[in-house]
Symmetry: C2
Subunit: 320 residues, 2 copies
């Protein structure tokens, strides 16, 4: 089976066997700025390159799973709006089926990252699992009863827009105090930049090479590892807010696992402890006992592996 | 089918046909203070009385559904701890099966109230539905994909213990700022009593008959309806917090319906508008569009009707 993770900056395509064993992986820049046709050509090329890399004959793939960055109609693969690609109303499912001459199954990237971690990663065996990704934004996906939970309009899992700080900073969604507005990489960088603007945060500025425009969550993490107090406070607060959200999910959904991934989660590990401390303090004991809270295991490949799992599920019992 | 809602203060037993048509209803005080044997005798009496009232022969009932106030093992009806009854480790399912000589299916009261509203009340037709009950506490139940969602340990739906006010008042669960700590009837009454202690809240005190010990959410609601500003502020704040929690659920679960019930919801309707205003402001537009936010339709009978639905589901295709 083929799994494609179509992102705003890169396309990752994986060829895998029925057990999720990776036979080949191909990663190329998306080149979204070059237009929709270019991106679609690139996707097709990655699929062909993956087959070539594995030495697999063209007919050996029976279905393609694909994750897209934004809401998508899981039934037909119609994309209404994908801001990271600059796309509106693109019938991507239909286009890809025609170009690849294969069944193509689609879902949004967060749902597929959740599915990937559930089938092949840190969430294996957990019938009910929450996946949270912390990167420039905060996203998530829910696996309930062993399946992706999509809700009434396919929009479930928007963990980044749960309020955790009533009077907190304004979020890009327009509200105040969303998890994303206080715990995303963007939020951490913004808070760090504000500190620097106030003439504080020298350690963070140094970690950003002295360039105010290069202040990022990564720079904050670097400064924190070097012991900078302001950077540590930023990570601690972000971790605490994440912990409040996770505790709410534990109490509400009583999941067997909460899996945390995403670039910021990987680079800013110093917010793990404050997060966990809040989860332990704010979760109901019986639900806390039932849950394991773990880091994602598949790194940048959760989404592509979820796309593989989707293709396997939807195309079974046919084998690739 | 027979549905029993075993509560801390009353037992409500309903006899209903396969379409949920109520043939008889019997309500008696639980008398929990008289001991477990007494309560079990009372349950048996209500079932017999309901049959008598409907003129139904004893053999016409094929199964009994029962809701209990606290966590219960849905498989065998074992109650670990029901504080409202003062019970610990009671194999109620087994006891009731022996006493009634019928299959008895059990779940906690909030899950069954959710199921009742889903099958026969305000949540009909909503595959994914959130039920919230606001009374002395705040509880809830989740219907996902048309079924009660229980989570890994049967503890899902604890909406009352989602944090909505990071530094809010201490909750009986030990945390701060849980929804229950700011929006339950108990929370409203406590805030009103504190106002009166400070020499303010004269309108609320008057609504409580001048007796500080009689300050309740109901008294606050009465004072608010009479135009008392302090009472209105208490309801408004409680409604806003409830709205923050509902918006979080809308964004997270993308449900087709959110159904709000419970005694305080019925008596303190003045917090509906501030609640709705927050939901509208804090929900993602696509998920807001997909959801209807409505009051429970079955009043005090949601739980008993959910117990009927449980008995029908579990015992089908046998008819009562």
């Amino acid at each position: 089976m083929v799994g494609v993770d179509l992102g705003g900056t890169k396309i990752l395509t994986v060829l895998a066997g029925m057990e999720g064993d990776v036979l080949a992986r191909v990663k190329v820049p998306t080149g979204a700025e070059l237009g929709q046709e270019h991106v679609i050509d690139k996707i097709v090329e990655t699929v062909q390159a993956a087959l070539l890399e594995a030495g697999a004959p063209a007919g050996s793939v029976k279905a393609v799973g694909m994750g897209v960055p934004g809401p998508v109609d899981a039934d037909n693969g119609f994309i209404h709006f994908a801001p990271n690609l600059g796309w509106r109303d693109v019938p991507l499912g239909e286009i890809m089926r025609r170009r690849l001459d294969l069944p193509v199954y689609m879902d949004n990237d967060a749902n597929l990252a959740a599915l990937g971690e559930h089938r092949y990663g840190a969430g294996r065996g957990a019938a009910d699992m929450v996946y949270i990704t912390v990167s420039t934004g905060v996203g998530g996906g829910l696996i309930l009863g062993g399946r992706v939970y999509r809700g009434a309009g396919g929009g479930a899992g928007e963990i980044g827009h749960v309020t955790v700080a009533e009077d907190g900073p304004v979020c890009r969604c327009g509200n105040r105090g969303c998890l994303e507005a206080v715990a995303s990489g963007t939020a951490m960088a913004r808070r760090a930049a504000a500190l620097v603007d106030e003439g504080r945060g020298a350690g963070i500025l140094a970690a950003a090479g002295g360039d105010k425009n290069k202040i990022s969550a990564r720079a904050v993490a670097r400064a924190a590892r070097a012991g900078d107090a302001a950077a540590l406070a930023i990570l601690r607060d972000a971790g605490r807010y994440l912990g409040i959200a996770v505790a709410g999910l534990v109490n509400l959904l009583n999941p067997a696992a909460v899996v945390l991934g995403g670039g910021v989660m990987e680079s800013a590990g110093l917010f793990w402890e404050p997060m966990l401390e809040r989860v332990q303090r704010r979760s109901l004991p019986s639900s806390l006992e039932a849950v394991r809270i773990v880091r994602a295991a598949l790194g940048g490949e959760s989404g592509a592996m979820g796309a593989v799992a989707l293709a396997i599920e939807r195309a079974s019992p046919v084998k690739a």
